[in-house]
Each structure stands twice: as C-alpha cells, then as structure tokens.
C-alpha cells in the first residue's frame, strides 16, 4: 500500500482514476448509501486487494427449498400483518401466563425491578429527558412509550421468549401475552383501552395503535424508504458528523476537564496487566460452587437449621416438588427462616441461579 499524503489527495486520487501507469488500488467513490465510499472491482483489484475477476455466471450450488421448508422458516411477522399466525388469546389469559413464565425476570406487570428489561411504564413525554446532571430522570423506552410497531412484540415473544426456552409458546399463548403486555402499556385498540376480556387475534391486530409510531427518522416506509435513508446520510449534520479540523487555539465552548465521579469497577476478571503464573486452574469447577461456599454453606451444609442439606437427596426431592421456578423465587425472596438471597443482596439473579443449580445437582 502506498502512502498518499493528504495534502495531495486531489491529485493522487486523480492519478489513480486515470491510472495509465500501474495502479495499486481500484478507484473509490463517495457514493455509498451510508454517505461513505464504495470501491470498484476493476483491473484485478478491489481497493488494495487483488481479486480474481473471472466470470462466475452459471456457478450454482445448493438446491431449491421445498414448499414445507419455506413454510417452516418464513415465519416473520410484519407491521402490515403479513405472517400473523392463526390463534387468539385474551388479556386475562396473558396475565396468567405472564405470571408463570415471565414475571420472574420482567417484574409484576412488566414493571421491571429485577434487573431484566422493563416492559411497561413511563411516558412518552419522558423521551425528551436528558440526564445532564446527577439525579435526573432517564427517558423511559418501553413498549408503550417507544416501540413503533406491535408486530415486533408478538414476533419477538414467539421467537425469543421465554428467555431460557425460546419458541416454546403456542400461538394462543403469544396472542395472549401480546394482549396482556399491550394492555399493561395502556395501548389502545380501535381507539379503546383493552380490558381483561379483550381477545387479540389476526382479525383485530391491525387496529392496534402504537403511540410512538412516528417517533423515528428517517422515514423508511414506502418505496422511497431507502432513498430517505440515503438523503439522511448525505448531510453529516443529521447524525453528528460535525467535527472540524482545527489545529491551533481551537475553541470548545468553555470545555473543562470532567473526571470520573463514581468509578465503575465491577469487572470480571478483575483488572490486571501482571505477567505471572496462575497458581491453580479452577476452570472445571461448577460456576455456583464458590458462591455456595461463601454465602450458603453456613446453613445448608447440614440440616441442623432446618435448611435442605447439600447432598441430601430426600431433602431436595421434597424441595423440588414445588417446581424449579418457585424454589428459585424462594431462594431469591426468602422463605421461612431462609433470608432473601441467603442474606447477601449483592448476589445477582444469575449468580443465585447458578448456586441453586449447584446445590440441586449435588443432591441427586
């Protein structure tokens, strides 16, 4: 790669394009959709890469998918309703399924609070909030205040949730959950709020009105969608490309040094640049073992305190009759004389899950 002095960009680019003498790069143009460069593929070069320019016409591998294969995979759900499945579900049914399968992570009514994404609450007015000083409120980006389309919700729930068992919900269940979450976000259908009996299906899906539908730019809808994107990227001011190359005595709105207030130090593994040998390799240990020993062994090593003892099959068989979710919730929220999270509120939900898994799998 030759070095092209920026002071002579104009002349060297011209030389490149005209290039009667051997060239070392194909030509480049500032005409990409995103406002950037495209690089031509000519004279055996793509930018500075050598390429094989032989014709590949007629090179066909693979095969045609069958009708059933297409049906199995072509299941996306679009804003105009394309792809909506058969089935139906009510707000009330959704409420029940939500409590069983979603609330552990997303909180009651989708209100969050347990560290996983918040699914409801906040107001559209909050979207203009700017936390320019400590203690100010954040903009609330939830389904009701932010999501432009309801199709996204039902599609995402069907493909990606519940988190640990994606694609396990029936069509009726995804309609019910979508109805429930829309109701929890006070979304209107056909101008009316949804009550518990409201039943969502393919037939009334298009009547859902998402309040923030027009909250996004550039406009990507219609046949000019891509052209609008191109126009948006043409002007750097639209997306923050406003830097100037000043070299001396540059002004910057009275900028002063802002230092770290409260440093974020919770990183894993801990920071270190030391070059030494690690004493022992713990990589095969169960991820919940260390946490168990540090937080739970005091009470759970034996059954003396009425806690199910590690290694006791009968103790744990009895515990597990309640079902994993309930047991997890008890471990997190406390039960009887078992304190919430064993008394260590710093443990994350995830760490708790690992520890309980360690206890269960060592008591079989």
């Amino acid at each position: 790669m030759f070095k092209c002095d920026h002071k002579f960009i104009a002349t060297s680019v011209a030389a490149l394009v005209l290039g009667s003498t051997p060239v070392f790069a194909s030509s480049a143009k500032k005409n990409a959709l995103d406002g950037g460069m495209t690089y031509s593929r000519d004279r055996g070069m793509y930018s500075v890469y050598n390429i094989n320019e032989q014709d590949t016409k007629g090179m066909n591998h693979g095969r045609t998918p069958t009708a059933n294969e297409l049906k199995a995979w072509d299941t996306d759900i679009m804003p105009d309703g394309t792809g909506l499945p058969e089935g139906k579900g009510s707000v009330e049914e959704g409420d029940e399924i939500y409590e069983e399968q979603c609330g552990v992570c997303h909180g009651d009514f989708g209100a969050g609070g347990v560290g996983y994404p918040t699914l409801s609450g906040g107001s559209m007015d909050s979207l203009t909030n700017q936390r320019t000083a400590p203690g100010m409120d954040a903009p609330k980006r939830t389904i009701g205040t932010y999501w432009p389309q309801a199709s996204t919700l039902i599609w995402y729930i069907r493909d990606a949730m519940p988190y640990a068992h994606p694609k396990s919900l029936s069509n009726d269940e995804i309609y019910a959950l979508t109805a429930y979450l829309l109701a929890a976000n006070e979304i209107k259908v056909d101008g009316k709020e949804m009550d518990d009996d409201f039943v969502l299906s393919k037939d009334n899906f298009s009547k859902i009105k998402m309040p923030n539908e027009d909250g996004f730019y550039p406009n990507i809808n219609g046949k000019d969608g891509v052209e609008n994107v191109r126009k948006f990227f043409k002007d750097g001011k639209n997306y923050g490309a406003v830097g100037k190359r000043c070299m001396k005595n540059c002004k910057d709105d009275n900028a002063t040094v802002m230092r770290i207030g409260i440093e974020m130090k919770d990183v894993n593994p801990a920071y270190s640049t030391v070059r030494d040998l690690v004493p022992v390799d713990n990589s095969n240990a169960h991820p919940g073992k260390a946490g168990y020993e540090a937080n739970c062994a005091v009470c759970h090593a034996t059954d003396k305190m009425g806690a199910p003892a590690l290694g006791s099959k009968s103790d744990w068989d009895k515990v597990m009759e309640k079902g994993t979710t309930k047991v997890m919730m008890n471990a997190i929220n406390g039960v009887g004389s078992m304190p919430p999270k064993g008394g260590n509120s710093d443990l994350t939900e995830w760490q708790m899950q690992m520890i309980v898994d360690y206890m269960i799998s060592n008591s079989k």
Partner: protein
Amino acid sequence: MTKISKASNTEIVQSTRRDFFRKTAAYSVSAIAATSILSADDENITHHSKWGTTLGDELNKNPYGLPSPYEHNNVRRTTPLLSSAGDMHAAISLTPLHEQEGIITPNGLFFTRTHNGVAQIDPNKFRFMIHGMIEKPIVLTLEDIKKYPSESVIHFLECPSNGAAEWKGPQFNSLQFVKGMMSCTEWTGVRLKTILDDLGVDPKAIWCLVEGQDGSEMSRTVPTEKIMDDAMLVYAMNGEALRAEQGYPLRLLLPGWEANLCVKWLKRLEFGDKPWYCKEETSKYTTLTASGKAIQHFYPLEVNSIITSPCPEKPWTSLKKGDMIEIQGLAWSGHGKIKLVDISFDGGKNWVEANLKGLVLPKSWTRFSYIYKYEGKPLLLASRAMDEIKNVQPTVNQEKKIIGVEGVYHRNSICTWEVKENGEVHNVQMRS
C-alpha cells in the same frame, strides 16, 4: 570461565490479583532503582535461567496452541453493568485493547455480544436459505457455500454501543471498557453478490431481512443495495473457522456497519419491498436524540480513534523526564479509509498530525504513531481522526449538541486521557 551456580534465580511470582495501579507503581520504583545503581549486575544475565537449563515441554503438548501461561491477564472482560441482572447470556465481553498489537485481533480475544447465549451449531446440520422476492430461492449447506470463490478482507467490527456508558461523563478508568466493544479480523467468505447474481433478485426488493438461528433469532432489515455492494457470508476469521462466539459456522459481514447488523449463526435472507421492524432496530439500536425522536437504521460506524498507549491500564509511571516514547493508537471508520489522525497534548486546544503506520485499508483499524519526549508534566492527551469522506471526529460538546446524552449508540466523540505528573493515566472528558 567462571562457574555459575545452576540454581534457578527466576522466582515466579504467584498471582494475587492486586490492583494493577499498585503493581505498576511498584515495578516502576524497582526500574528506577535498577538504572540508578549502574554497577549492579542483573542476575537474569549473570545466572543461567531456569528455562535454559531444563528440557522444555513436548512440542505438541497443546495440539491447538495456547498463549504463554504468563499472558493469562490478556483476556476479554465483562461487567454486570452491561448485562441484564448480571446474566451473561445477553451481555457483552470487551476486547483488551491495551494488549492489542497491530490491527488483527486474535480470535480468542474478539469482543462478543449475544442476545441468548452462544449457540453451538452442528455444521453438518447447518442450513442457510435465501428466498423472498427472488426468482430462484435456494438452500445451501456449509459445504455448498465454500464451493463459491472465497475472498479475504480485513475489517473491524464494532458494537454501536461502544463507549455507551460514557455519554453522561467518564465512568470506567480503562481502555478496555471505554472502547473494547470492537475488534478487527481478516474475514474469509464469499461475496453475497457472487451468489445472488444468478438468483434474480426482484428490483422492487429494496430490503432484505437477515435472521440468525440462535435462541434469540436475532434479525435486522438491511437495504439490498448494501447486500449487493460489499456484503459477505463469512465462515472464517484469521485463517480458521469462525469461533462459536462469532457465529460459527456462518455470519453476515456488512463492512463498516453496526456489528449488530452482521448477524451471527445466520439462518436466512429474505428479500422484500418493506422493512421488517425487528426488535433490534426498534426497541434497541435506535438513537434517541434530545428532541424525543430517534434515529433508526443508523448503519455506519463513524470515524473514530483512541490512544492505546499510554492508557489507564498501560500508564507512563516507569518513564523519567526526558525519556523518548511512542504514543500509539487505533483509528477506524465505517465510511472508508482513515486519512489522518491528529494528537493534542492540551485537551484539544492545539493539535499536531501523527503518522499512520502499517496497512491503511478501507473500514479497518489503522494504527497511528507519534514519538514524544516525556517531560514529566501533566497532559491532556487526545486523538482526532479524519476519514476518506473527510468526516472529522466531533468534540464531546459538538456531539452532545446534535444527539444529546441519551443516544446510547454511535458515540464517536474525541476521547481524552489525563496523564498525571506521576505518569498515571485517567479517563476524562473535555466538556462544558
């Protein structure tokens, strides 16, 4: 010849994960001590080393080679802050940029973002489909894809959330956590255009859905124009199969665009005439501005740069006044090549042009370098890159004026390190 005792003099310090600032500080004291007592002999020279007096390991002890055991701190790191409830299935791990040499990230250090854990795909059962508004839909196996002519290109990938924690002010005192949501690799695969040219894409199909086959079925809408320009299906990085964390066996590569668009564990492309409104292009990966409206389909990663040496992890605490030292860093742009990089020592009032070094490739990391005489005085060290389309990194204030502080994504304003009198380096921002 003098007989020298064979006793090993290289004591191996066992790891206690002490604060690295304290360690570096301790090292620098001993370094200064070593140079000031000029007559003292270094036992590492005057005595035989342990490794020179014992038989080494069998050469193929590790059929798949491993880094030296001394390099165990050169690893990706995570933080519960950048995750849901500390859960490491929908979270991000960051590349240790302070240990990064050159412009190629080793495969084991490539940053990783997943939305439903790392899928482990059986390559024999892997299928990939192209369908929708095209004449000839197809299903390809991995072997089929590898029958097409391959190309290898060097491109960076960056999560548009890179530096997202810093919109409201500096938070992490670490290069790894300030800019480590990116890596750069030599990718190998097939240009999508090579495959698509024979399949008859409908000219009205201006959009293409790209969807993964992991638990989250990660999907995005991409303009067909990009698919037909430099988009690739890639199955290899740095000479070997993709790592599972990077989408084994197949991912999409859209050079210069959000890594989130470069869907991993790729399942299918569907051509259509309307955008899909996927979860990751509505709820997330949209940049909320101060107006309350959000930028959507914000594809390219804009011109950016960071000084990697010195940095908080690799400070100048061992330097003496008058020492000559190289300042280095990385610059990159999703819009093309890097044209030039300037460096400031006074927080952006005055700038000098640095030198680019090594390969200068489109949409790739580019190294810059500047030789500096250290004066032992406090500095506000910053870098500012300009790319091929003449975009220049904005100041924090300039970016804030247009986007606000709640945008989350696409932060590319100038980064500043404060070098203290003792050589420590801290993450700061110049803003009003």
